[in-house]
């Protein structure tokens, strides 16, 4: 009888009671289950190597050079080690001095997104040099062969330049400058040097280049048969009590409570998650990024069939430090070291408020593995601009000369463009005055994404 009573007692409790704390957001304290860490995504947007002859090598596949913080011989470790060496001092220098230093053999990591140096030191438990607090955000950091006892830093948020001086030369920099073959790769020149009068931009373009990129198939990261499993990863134990709305087009909406938490699985495979339950924890930039990446890792696409999942890297960060701090991290995708561009912007957006993820949008496609098809000469960036400057002017709604169009360029990169169910190798060209970049075939200069 006692056993029967105990059964009724517990069954009665279990059947009906659950609470908000039952929500399992899929976080795990076990790092072994994680695949993406802060160090994997907070990497330079690209690395510029100066040959000392007025031309440059630009590496968008930064990881082989930038390396890992775990590797004491890497570029990133040398930067961190330098910051911790004795007898350091920080002094502000002029833009001219900064640019002059980079006319020598040089190497610099460029961060196109907001990266607060103070928060990084806190995250890594590093005590910075005296005066380092003057550097708010890291836009560029690197060495010049002119003085390897100095680290050169650009803070674009303050439009300031700094020199961090040590009593000793950087062994990594000395070794890099003496051991690198500066003639082995495609060389880039400032567009001002290529076009001469009328263009005074420092934007770097490769003169000529070969590439092994080819068109590849791409699959939406959603298997409708696995929708429930995917949704359960967001709602955990409360999934049985979540409202599910299916639309005729294939979109499925999951809603917890009366809309406090909403998950949308779109027809195109993208996922959108919104939660009104902001946290109250004060977190800094890197703690918030870690929370965002844990969330990203916990909600991997569930797909059937072969293919590889692209890697991620930070593209854009916005912060609002009022209250408990809000962070918006935009991540880009990459495969085999090449960026993947999406027409509507960065494919992964994660917002963290008070230590909790309040918004998540992700296009996480699966990609056909790269085929070995040898290398081909690309349609050069300069010729692509020359062939399309009238199209670019038309997009701006103006009648402009090629030089006037070139003067408006903000970025020229190559990578893959997600064009429906295929990835095509492209030039991505950013233009001042246009909200979104333009895309041109890497081998033919044909324009994409016009619809």
């Amino acid at each position: 009888m006692t056993i029967l009573l105990l059964y009724v007692f517990w069954a009665d409790l279990e059947l009906t009671r659950f609470s908000l704390s039952d929500i399992d957001l899929g976080f795990s304290d076990d790092d072994e289950e994680r695949t993406v860490f802060v160090e994997d995504v907070a990497v330079p947007s690209y690395v510029i190597i100066g040959t000392g002859q007025g031309d440059y090598i630009v590496k968008s596949d930064v990881k082989p050079l930038y390396g890992s913080i775990e590797d004491p011989g890497s570029f990133v470790s040398s930067l961190l080690a330098f910051e911790q060496s004795d007898e350091l001092f920080v002094e502000e220098i002029s833009e001219e001095q900064y640019k002059e230093a980079y006319t020598y053999r040089s190497v610099r990591a460029v961060f196109d997104y907001l990266l607060p140096l103070g928060d990084y030191f806190k995250y890594k438990n590093v005590v910075g040099a005296a005066g380092v607090e003057e550097i708010k955000n890291l836009s560029e950091i690197g060495f010049s062969a002119a003085a390897t006892d100095s680290l050169l830093v650009k803070d674009a948020s303050q439009n300031k330049y700094f020199r961090v001086v040590s009593g000793a030369k950087s062994e990594w920099a000395e070794s890099f400058f003496s051991g690198t073959d500066f003639d082995s790769e495609a060389v880039y020149y400032p567009i001002s040097a290529l076009l001469g009068e009328g263009v005074d931009l420092d934007l770097l373009l490769p003169m000529s280049m070969e590439s092994d990129m080819t068109e590849r198939d791409i699959y939406a990261g959603r298997d409708t048969e696995a929708d429930a499993m995917q949704a359960k990863s967001f709602f955990g134990n409360t999934f049985d009590f979540v409202r599910k709305i299916e639309e005729s087009g294939g979109k499925v909406i999951y809603m917890y409570g009366y809309g406090e938490t909403v998950l949308i699985l779109n027809e195109d495979g993208s996922v959108e998650y919104k939660s009104e339950a902001a946290g109250t924890q004060s977190v800094n930039y890197f703690e918030a990024l870690d929370i965002a990446l844990q969330f990203f890792d916990s909600h991997q696409p569930i797909v059937t069939g072969g293919g590889i999942e692209p890697g991620v890297k930070l593209e854009k960060v916005k912060t609002d430090n009022a209250g408990h701090g809000k962070y918006r991290f935009e991540l880009g995708l990459e495969t085999d070291g090449e960026d993947i561009f999406f027409k509507e912007g960065n494919p992964v957006i994660i917002e963290v408020s008070g230590g909790v993820v309040t918004y998540y949008y992700a296009e996480r496609p699966i990609i056909e593995p790269k085929q070995d098809a040898g290398t081909n000469e690309v349609f050069s960036a300069l010729n692509t601009i020359a062939a399309n400057y009238q199209n670019i002017a038309a997009a701006l709604g103006e009648d402009l000369s090629m030089e006037a169009v070139a003067q408006r360029l903000t970025s020229v990169k190559y990578g893959y463009y997600a064009d429906g169910d295929r990835l095509v190798p492209v030039w991505q060209i950013g233009v001042k005055g246009l909200a979104k970049p333009l895309y041109f075939d890497l081998y033919t200069s044909e324009q994409y994404g016009l619809d």
Binding site: T2, D240, V242, M255, V262
Partner: protein, 238 residues
């Protein structure tokens, strides 16, 4: 070892445990505290000019959540089948049920509600069915079959079909708490309440939705005002 003494102690301990468990279960299921709350709420409602013309239900069992697909019947199929149906003289309900059975809609959840007769109109009669799942009506769900000169002319519906129930039950709030919640949503409003019952209801949402093919209905208190207007207060305690 004194086994007799040990057995006696063990038996007493088990009896004491049983008494405790029985008391705990009875205490959990009694509504003593709730009645106290209910009385307080009724007093509050009186102070706020809320008139009750109905007894407040005292039971609010734990219930399941339901998921269904919206019924969609091809209009041509309705028209074709209607032509083949026999003419009803007085048994509109029977003919309408046969009609639904031929359409594959009639099941245990399709419950006859009423037949309304009309004079000098486009229709002579309308037979209305309600949707009941797990013993509760799904609010705002109906099928209406229309007759003219004894023949079926058309059918209208808003109906959650192929309903599946959640594996787990969930606690519901009491009617008194739901009433208070409604009153608090409209402070100062004068209301006369003529009905209150537990139903299933698909909540309204501010989200912009496309054509919905399937949705979830939750246990909800349906509160009817003297004007005939129905208000819905979610009964799920999350």
């Amino acid at each position: 070892m004194d086994w007799t003494k040990a057995k006696t102690i063990l038996i007493i301990a088990l009896i004491a445990t049983n008494v405790f468990l029985i008391y705990s279960l009875l205490d959990r299921h009694s509504d003593r505290g709730e009645m106290t709350n209910e009385e307080v709420i009724l007093q509050l409602m009186e102070q706020r000019n809320i008139e009750l013309e109905v007894d407040i239900p005292r039971l609010h069992p734990s219930l399941r959540i339901i998921q269904g697909e919206y019924l969609s019947v091809d209009r041509e199929e309705i028209a074709a089948l209607a032509q083949g149906m026999p003419t009803a003289t007085s048994d509109y309900e029977g003919v309408a049920e046969d009609f639904l059975e031929y359409l594959g809609i009639l099941d245990d959840e399709t419950v006859y509600e009423e037949t309304e007769l009309f004079e000098d109109g486009d229709i002579d009669a309308s037979v209305r069915f309600k949707n009941e799942v797990e013993g509760l009506q799904i609010a705002e769900n109906y099928i209406e079959v229309y007759f003219k000169d004894g023949r079926i002319t058309d059918m209208n519906y808003h109906w959650l079909d192929d309903v599946e129930v959640s594996p787990r039950k969930i606690e519901t709030m009491s009617a008194a708490v739901a009433l208070m919640s409604l009153v608090n949503q409209q402070p100062g409003a004068k209301m006369t309440i003529t009905g209150i019952e537990l139903v299933y209801w698909v909540p309204d949402t501010d989200m912009e939705l496309g054509e919905t093919v399937s949705d979830t209905a939750f246990p909800t208190w349906e509160i009817t005002l003297s004007s005939g207007e129905k208000k819905y207060v979610g009964a799920v305690q999350i």
